[in-house]
């Protein structure tokens, strides 16, 4: 059922101070009292989400009880480490740099990924760079089928539709990155008796933009209820460095720069935010279209994408299934 209601562009506006206080109180309760941990490990990527989580954790637990962890690898942008360190410096929290490339070499993740790409681009090899992209799903009825974009050493670009086997091969190998990061985060969590922070925002959490047992694994997820534009409001309130607030969101997962829209949402994040809000609150496409600067047909299409993403990502959210319920668990 859709509801016709007067809506404005302010519909995602929050009271950042009150929301910060609420989250901070929640974090203290969860980490100190429920989980009985002494602080938190935050994987800080140089992006807005993990920066906000680091700021919230620092407020909640104190700067001596937060560890910022940087986990660069061969394909990471150097900016990510620099901006991550900026967060740690601003907050005066401890930090560690753990290059996960040797883990990825050890699991042959790069080799396996390149092998998968060669299924559709046989010449792919040394000196090539890659990313995967989706077609524009908003302007026409299309499937969210991935294409690989490769850049040859001589800068020639090529875009090729993936086969099922290449698509699974690339994703399976690339997911090793997020899982390796989590492995290191839990190493430090065990070392210091800390809890591990998850950094997804609501778009990522609801639409399954995470790797199961990779960045999806965490002991608490303090901004999973916030739309991306609300995360930006908290960032401004908390004083996250301007450069991080102004940095375009990126997955920082592939060797060619890839925006999150390209990889997943196929819409600017602020519009996707509004559409997810509209879907969650049963707002009629025509009403939402007016504030999102889209047409009603586009909004309907995005609502459809949201529904199918939810269906397709149920597996990511599912806990391990047990044959019967075990009392106390």
């Amino acid at each position: 059922m859709t509801i016709h209601q007067p809506i404005s562009t302010d519909l995602l506006r929050i009271d950042a101070a009150a929301e910060t206080d609420r989250i901070v109180a929640h974090l203290r309760d969860v980490v100190f009292h429920q989980l009985k941990r002494r602080g938190a490990v935050v994987g800080v990527s140089g992006g807005i989400d993990s920066a906000v989580v680091a700021y919230l954790c620092s407020r909640a637990f104190g700067k001596d009880r937060v560890l910022a962890l940087f986990t660069p690898e061969n394909d990471s942008s150097p900016d990510s480490l620099r901006l991550g360190q900026m967060v740690a410096n601003e907050l005066e929290i401890r930090s560690e740099v753990e290059d996960i490339s040797p883990i990825l070499d050890g699991t042959r993740a790069y080799q396996r990924r390149d092998q998968a790409i060669r299924e559709v681009v046989p010449e792919y090899g040394e000196g090539y760079r890659c990313k995967i992209v989706l077609p524009n799903l908003v302007d026409a009825d299309r499937y969210s089928i991935f294409f690989v974009v490769v850049r040859a050493p001589d800068a020639r670009m090529k875009t090729v539709r993936l086969t099922a086997s290449a698509s699974r091969g690339i994703v399976a190998a690339t997911n090793c990155k997020q899982r390796s990061r989590k492995l290191i985060e839990y190493y430090y969590a065990d070392l210091y008796q800390y809890a591990v922070a998850g950094t997804p925002n609501r778009l990522e959490y609801e639409l399954g933009f995470f790797v199961k047992n990779g960045d999806g694994a965490a002991d608490f997820k303090p901004i999973a209820h916030l739309y991306k534009s609300q995360v930006y409001q908290l960032a401004a309130y908390l004083g996250v460095p301007r450069e991080i607030q102004n940095r375009p969101p990126t997955t920082d997962t592939y060797s060619l720069e890839q925006s999150q829209e390209e990889f997943y949402f196929s819409l600017p994040l602020e519009k996707m935010d509004l559409c997810l809000y509209g879907r969650n609150n049963s707002i009629a496409p025509a009403d939402l279209a007016r504030v999102a600067d889209l047409d009603a047909e586009q909004v309907e299409r995005v609502y459809g994408i949201i529904d199918s993403r939810r269906k397709a990502t149920q597996y990511l959210h599912a806990s391990p299934a047990l044959p019967e319920h075990i009392v106390g668990h």
């Binding site: 299309r142 089928i145 699974r168 397709a312």
Partner: protein, 90 residues
């Protein structure tokens, strides 16, 4: 065997894991019913290209052409007719 039945066997074997009793009418939407995800669709495309010896262009990968047994059968029929293949019973 006609095209629809060949496609039905492929879909039931690969995406419904052989559950013959699962409801799959000729008009069931693959996406809306959640039967086939985007990677599954790539498998279906490969099956169609291999079985009917036709090439599916990127622009043709739209729900109007692929999203049910009936739509896919009609699409394959049109492709075969255009490429001059022997007409098959749909």
């Amino acid at each position: 065997m006609n095209i629809t039945e060949e496609l039905r066997i492929f879909v039931v074997d690969n995406f419904l894991f052989g559950q013959q009793d699962a409801h799959l009418s000729d008009e069931t939407s693959f996406l809306e019913s959640g039967i086939i995800d985007s990677t599954g669709l790539l498998e279906l495309i490969a099956f169609v290209e291999r079985t009917y010896e036709i090439q599916l262009e990127d622009a043709e990968l739209i729900p109007d052409n692929l999203d049910s047994l009936a739509k896919l059968t009609a699409f394959i029929g049109r492709k075969l007719a255009r490429s001059g293949h022997q007409p098959l019973c749909a």
